[in-house]
Symmetry: C2
Subunit: 234 residues, 2 copies
């Protein structure tokens, strides 16, 4: 048996109020789970409404059993129709699909997806259009074997731009090296440390919403126990 | 500001395969969050389909902004209609509602809800019918002030019956004393220890699905950071 470890961390722009990003975790009815990250245009409550609408529609479709590529297309068409092509959002889906025994990555976002498989770390990036403004927007799809030890991580663009205004841009290379060496159990801690680092680069007050989500596969696990912890301020 | 701490733990019958219980965590669009526990009649995949249908419908309704009492009624009517009164399920909703600044508890389940408020621990129990078999089933509703330090915890009946077949029944009184003394930060650990204890009473192989979910309110928190960790075997 394998165990899926999931972690996410979110901080709003200015370290105050509500993030315009939405992250959702949903189970796949045929086995596995999907992490959804939607970043609505702008920030604050208006952005939040858009990202919630996008993310919750994706939750419903995944829970109904829809495939990830169909979900990304349906959600794009919904946003395009509802807001007449005038509002954009980004959407990233990271799935563990036990029906196909693959990791499925659907991207309509400029942020890279960091992947670890078999002692290699690589980045998926480029070519993914945001949703909401064109009639025929499609997701960039990637499918990888669900190998034990695999890790996937992505973020909103707030992380990519962290530190830029202070001349101390985010250094992916150093974090990729750490990503290569951590155990799957350390994924939650890794996400927390990545957020700590981004907040340091932004001197505690991010210029944009920062969100990070990740999942990992751990082999040789015989326990059927599931658990979840969350901490949410209001 | 207050911080909501959330924790849940699930173990399937026999410590193998999939639990028939479903737990979902969903944000309330007007502020706050809701934990949903549904226990489908029987165990294994058939029970799981029922509890998933019930829990995911509740997720949708909460995400749309429906009030908890309306959600419980709508979900009961859906199950009654879909399965013609022949299948039962239990449903418990634990909410932190920032719009009303209250804790809202909706119960259609025989399991008690353990509550802690202002140095007192009490149990909500009795009078809650399960959903699915009668046309006019209603939830037992309780509303409490959202005071810092408050805790809510409930479980599926697998916990209530733990240890019975070995003549070592579950002792609520001892756990209520600990529930009174823990800090809100220790809620996740408390849930884990409660599950460990239940599994010990069942000698590692529960006779029924065991699920525990809890939430707590922590006062004087100034960070806007949100985080989540989950661990799920397949």
């Amino acid at each position: 048996m394998q165990r899926v470890e999931v972690a996410w961390s979110k901080m709003p722009k200015g370290a105050l109020g509500q993030s315009g990003d939405s992250i959702e975790l949903v189970e796949r009815p045929l086995g596995g789970l999907t992490l959804i990250l939607a970043d609505g245009q702008g920030s604050g409550p208006a952005a939040r409404r858009i990202s919630r609408m996008v993310a919750m529609r994706a939750v419903q479709l995944i829970a109904d059993g829809s495939r990830d590529g169909a979900v990304a297309r349906a959600v794009q068409d919904m946003l395009y129709t509802a807001r007449e092509g005038r509002v954009t959002a980004t959407l990233a889906l990271l799935s563990v699909d036990w029906h196909t025994r693959t990791l499925v990555i659907a991207r309509n976002a400029p942020s890279p997806v960091l992947c670890r498989q078999e002692e290699h770390v690589f980045r998926l990036e480029g070519g993914a259009e945001v949703i909401g403004t064109y009639r025929k927007t499609r997701p960039a799809m990637t499918e990888l074997e669900a190998l034990p030890g695999s890790l996937l991580l992505t973020c909103s663009d707030g992380l990519l731009h962290a530190g830029r205004r202070y001349g101390t841009p985010f250094d992916w290379t150093a974090w990729e090296e750490r990503f290569l060496s951590i155990s799957v159990d350390e994924l939650g801690q890794f996400v927390d440390e990545l957020m700590d680092h981004a907040l340091d680069l932004e001197r505690g007050r991010p210029t944009d919403d920062i969100s990070i989500m990740a999942l990992g596969l751990k082999g040789d696990d015989e326990s059927a126990r599931r658990s979840l912890y969350a901490s949410i301020p209001y």
